[in-house]
Symmetry: C2
Subunit: 286 residues, 2 copies
């Protein structure tokens, strides 16, 4: 059954990521997970959700009274061959045969199809989608920047004890080279302040902006199971304060970019929130 | 039925808090909630939990296969008359007839008995206990410092637009007087960094330590329903980094103080974590 295929491939992925994020094994496993998820979801009914999000339409998959998370109608492109095209491009280090918009749709479709499948296979499992999404994003990030991440930073304590602090993904491109701080979240909603707080901590240890903060978030939607309604929870004014008073994040990337965050780059201090696909072409200028 | 009594009194409390935190109505309602919760729990079975927390024993209430949160055996003192004694003391502004230890037990018992009741009455309702606990702590805090809290701060933006930022409780004792920043949480676990981040934000707007940060947390325990096991999730090393690099919290108060946080005041920079009952005698020295 597709269900077992998804879970088995995911289990293997969890083991493999210990050996590295961007590896041949993971390329195969992500493909397997995507294909099984698409086949699994193909058999499920779709319910159109009442969208309280301007200019965006959402649906959910449903099975046995369970409802999946909201899926963005425009971004969902369940076409496996597009992933093959992206994968082949990544192998030769040239993905320009795909537009940013197409890349965004491929990434969104891969991430949401696994998460929506888990919503229907398991009950109230938040952890599996969250963990998957972390390694999913780290896979693409790692490919692009060409190094593997760590999940800790070294601390040089004044009290002389050298310690490791567990963190989000850290990509260190080498001595005097760029260093990225990559938190990955399914959504942040009222917990977004944590992104800035972690950046501040790393700034505190290593100096302001030594590490370039580039969080990647999937979406800020929230689905009401009973009302079959989807809303987007955004706090743009608070975000500007965080950017002002806590730390500076260089970019915030989304797979399903909320309208409310699109124009924060026109404010001061500017905060640039973009589709994640744009990272692939702009990363060297960050 | 007791169940209805608890819910009705809670509903009234939610309305009343809009008029103020420390009021005669709330005194009556908190008493009603406590008494109904004790009567409700009296009829429930108790299950001893496997405690992975050193030197602490926990049990849970159970009904129809549902298990309540963990209750600290030593702190739970289901004696309504003790609350009456505290309440009478508060009325004449003298609670010295009770020891700190007794006050701690009264507060813990009141808070945990409502939360445990809700665990059995509702399914997976995190919001009701969280909201109750906020107003419960604000009630005692407000009594002690003699002013009512606000839940926002005024921002003076350089771009001239005056705005309100929603916050945790803010107690402003007056011009040139102490100002407290009181976040209230059932538990913080891996989200504790938010306490420091909010303090930093307020420091940023008003200047370092203009507002005295004194979060109050109930407990850091986590109960496994299936294993009937209770653990405590503490991150003392991370906390020291937050205190070092994000902001300075003056105190962190607990109703069920974790062992791992007791001795952080011996480190540098010191972080003083204490039973909440001690606030009542030390608040003027903060």
């Amino acid at each position: 059954m597709e269900k077992e295929k998804i879970l088995t491939a995911y289990k293997k992925l969890r083991k493999q990521v210990k050996k590295g994020c961007y590896t041949n094994e993971n390329t195969l496993l992500l493909g397997e997970i995507y294909l099984s998820s698409l086949n699994f979801l193909k058999k499920m009914k779709r319910v159109t959700l009442i969208s309280k999000v301007q200019n965006k339409s959402y649906f959910a998959f449903t099975s046995n009274d369970q409802l999946s998370r909201a899926v963005n109608q425009d971004l969902f492109m369940p076409d496996y061959s597009k992933w093959e095209q992206l994968r082949n491009g990544m192998e030769i280090n040239d993905i320009t045969s795909l537009s940013n918009n197409e890349i965004q749709k491929i990434l969104y479709s891969m991430a949401v199809s696994f998460c929506a499948s888990i919503d229907l296979i398991k009950k109230r499992d938040q952890k599996t989608p969250g963990t998957f999404f972390e390694y999913f994003i780290a896979y693409f990030f790692s490919w692009r920047v060409g190094v593997e991440p760590r999940k800790y930073i070294q601390l040089l304590n004044i009290d002389a004890i050298e310690k490791k602090l567990p963190t989000d993904f850290i990509f260190n491109l080498g001595k005097n080279q760029k260093k990225f701080h990559l938190p990955v979240k399914i959504s942040t909603r009222e917990r977004a302040i944590m992104l800035w707080a972690h950046q501040r901590l790393i700034d505190g240890v290593y100096g302001s902006s030594r590490f370039i903060g580039t969080p990647v978030i999937m979406t800020e939607t929230k689905t009401s199971q009973s009302k079959k309604e989807v809303i987007e929870i955004c706090l743009p004014e608070q975000w500007m304060l965080y950017q002002n008073f806590i730390a500076q994040l260089k970019r915030i990337y989304y797979l399903d970019l909320p309208e409310a965050y699109k124009n924060l780059d026109k404010k001061s201090p500017s905060l640039i929130v973009k589709p994640f696909s744009e990272f692939f072409e702009e990363w060297q200028r960050l």
